[in-house]
Amino acid sequence: MATVFKKPHALKDLSMHYCPGCTHGIIHRLVAEVIDELGIEGKTIGVSPVGCSYNNYEYFNCDMVQAAHGRAPAVGTGVKRANPDNYVFTYQGDGDLAAIGTAEIVHAATRGEKITTIFVNNAIYGMTSGQLAPTTLLNQVTTTSPFGRKPEVHGFPIKVSEMISTLEGAVYVERVSVHDIKNIINAKKAIKKAFKVQMANKGFSMVEVLSTCPTNWGMNPTEALRWLQDNMIPFYPLGNFKGKDLEV
């Protein structure tokens, strides 16, 4: 019998710290599988954010750089500009990318930096225990919107993929999810295409991955996947926003 599924080489052989059922783990594996399948682990450099995945430099086998909160696209710009033959990805959460790091992601995209951003949107701040995020849905309860997110107090959630796709430099932008098998497979396809866009030197690529936070949503992992499907997807429609037909 042949092995048909095992841990990708680009992921280190150790247990990750994420909460039980947190889909960060799935997304890490998908990125690592793509790196393996494209055979680029030796040339890839990942940039870790600040947030739950701040120390994912401990989990990947490629060279890694940990960036200040929100600054991963700028750090990634520096790494890529230093050695353009390397492949650079940033892995960021919604607080990192869409709150403090909004300027950095917008400008890395509009400069067409040839890096790939994996943007994990779980509509909440996980690491710091459940605060309102830029992508928190209206009426969603968090530790800093205890009565539910209200526009007059907390403003409106940001649709990042739609926003970034308006920028010329962003040549591939797709929003995917990992809430079931079909979508996980689809998410991997999008991540692979994003890396291929970078390998073809076409410009900036980003995959927004809807993700869960069982702990801070206050649900068990299975309920969380359900909640994502029923609540996040209607507001954050899945699909391609840029570069659907890009040949890579």
Partner: protein, 351 residues
Amino acid sequence: MGQKLLMKGNEVIAEAAVRAGCRHYFGYPITPQTEIAHYMAKRMPEVGGVFVQAESEVAAINMVYGAASAGVRVMTSSSSPGISLKQEGISYSACAELPAVIVNIVRCGPGLGGILPAQCDYFQAVKGGGHGDYKMVVLAPSSVQELYEMTVEAFNIADKYRTLVMVMGDGILGQMMEAVEFKDKENIVAVDKSWAVTGTGMKRENNVITSIYIKPEVMEAHNNKLQAKYKLIEQNETKVEVYNCDNADVIVTAFGTVGRIVKNVIKTAEKEGIKVGLIRPITLWPFPVHAFEKYAQTPKAFLSVELNAGQMVEDVRLAVNGRRPVHFHGRTGGMIVTQQEILDKIKEIIK
């Protein structure tokens, strides 16, 4: 005999960086240093280098963080408010032990302040404007020639110790033109950068550049390592100019451009029978304490002259350690001290 040119300070800094092998510059416009970016925008493409105008000084320092992590010689430059924005990135870079050169062409503050020259960022530079126990080598040139020499030296120090080096001038230095003589070939110290993130090539364990160590024992060990490095830098890299101090009546301390003004005062005072010496720290950090060990008992008093409300004077007091009174005279807001003011203050002191 190298090439001799009449050049503007800001442009000399940029040319010096290129000559020092810097091929990556990330900048942002802010008076009075923006010509550095102008120059780099033209020059970098000529040498196959990278010039990026970042969206902010915060982004620029983080691009420096990325490029330095990848092992290349990299520089950014700004002026006071922009340097404030870079403080977080500076603290991160210090902790991650990243070699990089940061230029601050100081303008008057605080706040948006003004665009005229000042030295009011001394504390921020040497006491650390960012969080945590870190140090940054701070070089204070006083002429366009020194801007050139110290920018080249800054890259060597940065690489040698994996540290940040700030070249701190002021609006005068950045904007003025002076003759500068370039060497034919720069002394570029090559160092091992196998720690950099250049891709494992599947031939080595992965490199990680980080500034977080969540276990306290590990973080303390890392802090101790940094502090040991700073001790080494203090021993090897402290630079000072001691001028005319033997049996001086008053020893003036001043850095950068003000050091030159004081030299004129020394000549005038000499004619009036007053012997004035000058101790001019060239490295603001590490502060040249040893120079004060030698001369602490020599004068009646010390006088620190600065373009701020009194900053380096505190380090002078620490170095003199109570052995002599330490006076202060300064101007702020972009006003420049005059020779007459300094002379009057000296006379007042020795009365």
